[in-house]
C-alpha cells in the first residue's frame, strides 16, 4: 500500500507596501486545560494564543510537538496561517476588520479574535506585520479578499 501524498497550500501576494504569504507551520492544536490571561500570547516555541477561558491555540512553527493539556485536538490540517508584512499591512487590517491596527488590542504580546472580511480569525502583530489564523475551508475566500485589498491599498495617496 503506497502512502498518500498530502496537499499543501502555497500562495504569495506581492503588492506595493505589503507581502502576504501562506505559512506552513509544523503543527497547530486546540488545547483545553491550561491557564492563560485573556487575549494574550504566551511562550515562543511553541507559542500559545488565548481563544477562550477554556481553550488556547498552540502553534509549532518549525518542529512538531505535543502540547500539554487535558484535552488536545490536532488542528494542523484545519487551520490556515497567513502573514502580512510591510508598511501597508496595517491598512489592509483597517480595510478588513473593525480594529484599528494601532490599537492596544494588537500590541505586542496580545492577540484578538475578530472578523476579517467576514471570516472569524485570530489576529496578532508579529515581526514587521501581522499574522492571522482561520479555518482552512475559508482559504480561497481569504486569498481572494486579500488580493483585492492589496491591489487597492498600493495605490492610495
Amino acid at each position: 500500500m503506497a502512502d498518500l501524498p498530502p496537499d499543501t497550500l502555497r500562495a504569495q501576494i506581492d503588492a506595493r507596501g505589503v507581502t502576504i504569504r501562506v505559512l506552513d507551520p509544523a503543527a497547530q492544536f486546540y488545547v483545553t486545560g491550561t491557564a492563560q490571561a485573556p487575549n494574550t500570547i504566551a511562550d515562543i516555541h511553541p507559542y500559545s494564543l488565548w481563544l477562550a477561558p477554556d481553550r488556547t491555540l498552540v502553534v509549532y512553527e518549525n518542529q512538531r510537538g505535543t502540547p500539554q493539556g487535558a484535552f488536545v485536538s490536532d488542528m494542523t490540517d484545519g487551520l490556515i496561517l497567513i502573514e502580512l508584512v510591510g508598511p501597508r499591512a496595517g491598512e489592509i487590517l483597517s480595510a478588513s476588520t473593525t480594529l484599528d491596527p494601532t490599537s492596544t488590542v494588537l500590541a505586542p504580546g496580545r492577540c484578538a479574535q475578530t472578523l476579517f472580511g467576514g471570516v472569524k480569525v485570530v489576529l496578532y502583530a508579529y515581526g514587521n506585520g501581522f499574522r492571522l489564523h482561520a479555518e482552512r475551508s475559508f482559504a480561497a475566500f481569504l486569498l481572494e479578499w486579500l488580493r483585492k485589498a492589496a491591489s487597492a491599498i498600493g495605490e492610495s495617496p
Binding site: 485573556p38 487575549n39 481563544l51 477562550a52 488590542v105 484578538a112 479574535q113 475578530t114 472578523l115
Partner: protein, 87 residues
Amino acid sequence: MLSIPCPWCGPRDEPEFLFGGEPAVRPVPAADVTDAAWADYLYFRDNDKGPHAEIWCHAAGCGQWFVMRRDTATHAILSVRKPGEPA
C-alpha cells in the same frame, strides 16, 4: 453601532456580537412546571423601557456569553458581568 465592553476582550464593535435577548430563569424540574409557567418562560419577557437586562455573546471573538445592563431608551450600556458573577 454600539461599542460593547466584553468582560474578556474589552470594547469591541457591535457586529462582533450576537444578541441573546432578555434572560430568563429556566424553571426546573420539568415535571413540576405548569403549562402557563412554561409558556411564560418560553415566550414572555418584561421588555422594559429604560435599564434592562440582556445577554450577549461575543460570537466573532471569544465566544463567551455575558450579561449586560443597558438602557433601551438611550442605548447607554450601564454594566456588563460574566455569568454567575453577582449583579
